[in-house]
């Protein structure tokens, strides 16, 4: 059993009582709501004549079905089903007194982009959302968990979930990242090492020099993909990087109150002598950019490596999975991913839809144009991110290169709006899942990579090493996002 970790501290502070079946009743300090997984939960509440218990701790936005073309955001939405979902969310939040960041607010976007940038996500909180990428918020040193709709009902009605305490695995990420290698590459490396189900039953505590050197947007990307490694939650202990990011944000207290809050944030950090259920070291020193070659995020290699042969895998099931992946991706063992033809470039999502992601991709795009065979979409993670990019002229770089510059939403990550792959198109994607059918076409193929790699693939029309495009950049770019994080 772990002891003295942030997870233990935060759990104890939020534990209400033990339930008769042995689970803990855990108070949820921040409940994030979106249009797809909540209407059924609000329906269940109405059936039971229950009110929302903590509307002040609940915030909503619309992301999954949000059209990303400006003209398609006029109401009513052309897609009747999307309109019904959005209307239901507006009605449910307004009747319950829940703050809703809609299209008109200027703050709409992906829940996991919006809550951090507004300062809603803070250290020492429990965060829940009907979305598996809720682990993102762990970047601040909170416990973020994805929940199903019945559990959303639980949180709406009681402010709590029934939960089992997990084991805590410390993941010590050693080394220093080179130019053109990012947080996205780090988390894909972790998943390569530990597998897509390696985290089942565990919470991941990310630490070590490679993590501590990341800015908040990098830490958000790392924690975001915890679920792709099977861990329901992942977190980074808060430090000065965290506090400075939070200072001045809309929902963060100011002055004296900030210092008081900071004392709480400091108090929940893992103790120096904390005990973990296990500790794993991942060597990220000098890793090359990572790309997936298969149909789950664990089927991933460094760009300089070759696609493995099914026989390279020990377990029969891994061999079968590799064969299925090779077949779906129409790729051969021993092949390099460099040169793999790309039809679509998609930049955005709750993993990589933040200002620094677009800024890094823009460095690659500067002075280049998108290959004529490529459909390229840039979809800011939030309207705030879009505005930040536009203030800095980053949108111009994308537009001049031949990208479509869109409005905020989940978009082609899961294709619940009009943005979808067609047929067996290949997508160079900054998203988090390369599952069959994920991007809207059952024959579609997804290659996961960092935003800079997506930009380079868009220019070449095939997978390439983006560092070739960054060589002529002045040094010191990799961590240089502080100046733009406002």
């Amino acid at each position: 059993m772990s002891e003295g970790t942030l997870y233990d501290e935060v759990w104890e502070k939020h534990k209400v009582t033990e339930l008769p079946n042995g689970q803990d009743q855990l108070f949820i300090g921040l409940h994030l709501v979106h249009e797809v997984t909540s209407p059924q939960a609000f329906g269940m509440l109405r059936e039971r004549d229950l009110d929302v218990a903590y509307p002040d701790r609940t915030f909503a936005t619309t992301d999954h079905i949000a059209p990303t073309e400006a003209e398609k955001r006029e109401r009513p939405l052309a897609d009747d089903q999307a309109e019904e979902m959005l209307s239901a969310l507006e009605r449910n939040t307004s009747e319950s007194g829940i703050t809703f960041f809609g299209f008109e607010s200027g703050k709409q976007g992906i829940t996991h982009v919006v809550a951090p940038e507004l300062g809603l996500s803070q250290p020492g909180m429990t965060v829940a959302c009907g979305d598996s990428h809720t682990a993102t918020h762990g970047a601040f040193g909170s416990i973020g968990v994805g929940i199903g709709t019945s559990q959303i009902r639980d949180v709406l009605a009681t402010g709590c979930i029934a939960a089992d305490k997990q084991k805590v695995r410390r993941i010590e990420v050693e080394g220093e990242l080179g130019e053109g290698v990012y947080a996205k590459d780090v988390i894909m490396k972790v998943i390569q090492d530990l597998g897509v189900d390696g985290g089942v039953g565990h919470v991941y505590e990310y630490g070590g020099p490679a993590i501590e050197a990341l800015d908040m947007e990098g830490r958000l990307a790392v924690c975001n993909m915890s679920i792709e490694g099977g861990a329901r939650a992942g977190y980074v202990n808060p430090d000065e990087t965290t506090y400075e990011y939070l200072r001045g944000r809309e929902y963060v207290p100011e002055g004296e109150a900030f210092e008081e809050r900071k004392a709480y944030w400091e108090s929940i950090r893992s103790d120096d002598d904390a005990e973990y259920d296990d500790v794993v070291t991942v060597d990220a020193d000098g890793i090359d950019p990572m790309v997936t070659w298969g149909i789950n995020p664990g089927q991933v290699i460094e760009i300089t490596d070759r696609v493995p042969h099914p026989d390279d895998f020990e377990a029969r099931t891994d061999r079968e999975a590799a064969e299925q992946a090779l077949d779906h991706m129409a790729i051969d063992p021993g092949q390099s991913m460099v040169g793999y033809d790309v039809d679509v470039a998609f930049l955005g999502t709750c993993t990589n839809g933040r200002l620094s992601d677009f800024a890094e991709a823009a460095k690659v795009l500067e002075g280049h144009t998108v290959d004529e065979g490529v459909r390229a979409l840039a979809v800011p993670g939030s309207e705030t991110v879009r505005q930040q990019c536009e203030e800095r002229g980053i949108d111009e770089t994308f537009i001049n290169a031949g990208f479509q510059w869109r409005r905020a939403g989940c978009s082609m990550c899961l294709a619940m709006n009009d943005d979808a792959l067609e047929g067996d198109e290949v997508c160079a994607s900054s998203s988090n899942r390369n599952f069959i059918g994920r991007q809207g076409s059952k024959d579609g193929r997804t290659v996961l990579m960092s935003p800079a790699m997506v930009a380079a693939a868009a220019v070449e029309g095939e997978v390439v090493d983006a560092r070739d495009y960054l060589d002529d950049e002045p040094a010191g770019g990799a961590g240089g996002v502080e100046e733009v994080a406002d």
Binding site: D49, L50, T149, R433, F435
Partner: protein, 207 residues
């Protein structure tokens, strides 16, 4: 008026059974179980129609030989490891339940999927790889044979065979004792919640 927290979800689930359906493969994700394009409905009512929608159809949209097409009417799904990984969508187990699945036997489950099964009163039990494969093969050979999950005794019986299985302790207690409706359970602890909230510096002026 007193809220109606008792909705019949207090049923004691000690045994489930019926014919089986093997759904082979590791890391079967919820995007396969219930493709996102079918989540644009504000209720779960039609979800059974969309279960494994893409995997069950060939390129012409006709049903292929996917197990769900061959084992219609089955009540027990037999799956491999890390079943239900990926998206948290409850739409996936909702679709399985509405299609007719009352219980799942597998090597392992993604956690959110398992939680969602508990919320719906679907026992999800585990056993080792060889036993799962044996059972999947038995079902292929005995499509009309019954597979029974005894949640209380932690066993699975098929044909003349009875095997011991594992089930998460909290899930078993909740199902057997009929306390898997966590809303009702937690709603009764409101005063304790208030006390917890009082100790949290970031919650101000709660109601």
């Amino acid at each position: 008026m007193a809220p109606d927290t008792d909705t019949g979800a207090d049923q004691h689930i000690t045994e489930v059974g019926g014919t089986g359906v093997p759904i082979p493969g590791d890391d079967v994700d919820t995007d396969q179980i219930l493709p996102a394009k079918f989540m644009k409905e504000v209720t779960f009512d039609n979800m059974a129609d969309y279960l494994f929608y893409d995997a069950r159809r060939d390129d012409d949209g006709e049903f292929n030989d996917h197990p769900l097409n061959r084992f219609e009417g089955a009540s027990i799904a037999v799956v491999n490891s890390n079943f239900g990984c990926g998206s948290s969508r409850e739409h996936a187990p909702q679709a399985m339940m509405r299609w007719g699945i009352d219980g799942v036997i597998g090597e392992s489950y993604a956690e959110i999927f398992r939680d969602n099964c508990k919320s719906l009163g679907i026992p999800a039990v585990t056993t080792d790889h060889e036993t799962v494969v044996e059972l999947q093969e038995w079902i292929e050979a005995n499509p009309d044979g019954d597979v029974e999950i005894d949640v209380e005794a932690k066993t699975v019986t098929y044909g003349d065979t009875t095997i011991d299985v594992d089930i998460d302790g909290a899930m078993r207690e909740a199902l057997v004792d009929g306390i898997w409706d966590t809303t009702a359970l937690m709603y009764s602890n409101r005063s304790k919640v208030d006390a917890t909230v009082d100790g949290l510096p970031y919650v101000e002026g709660d109601d």
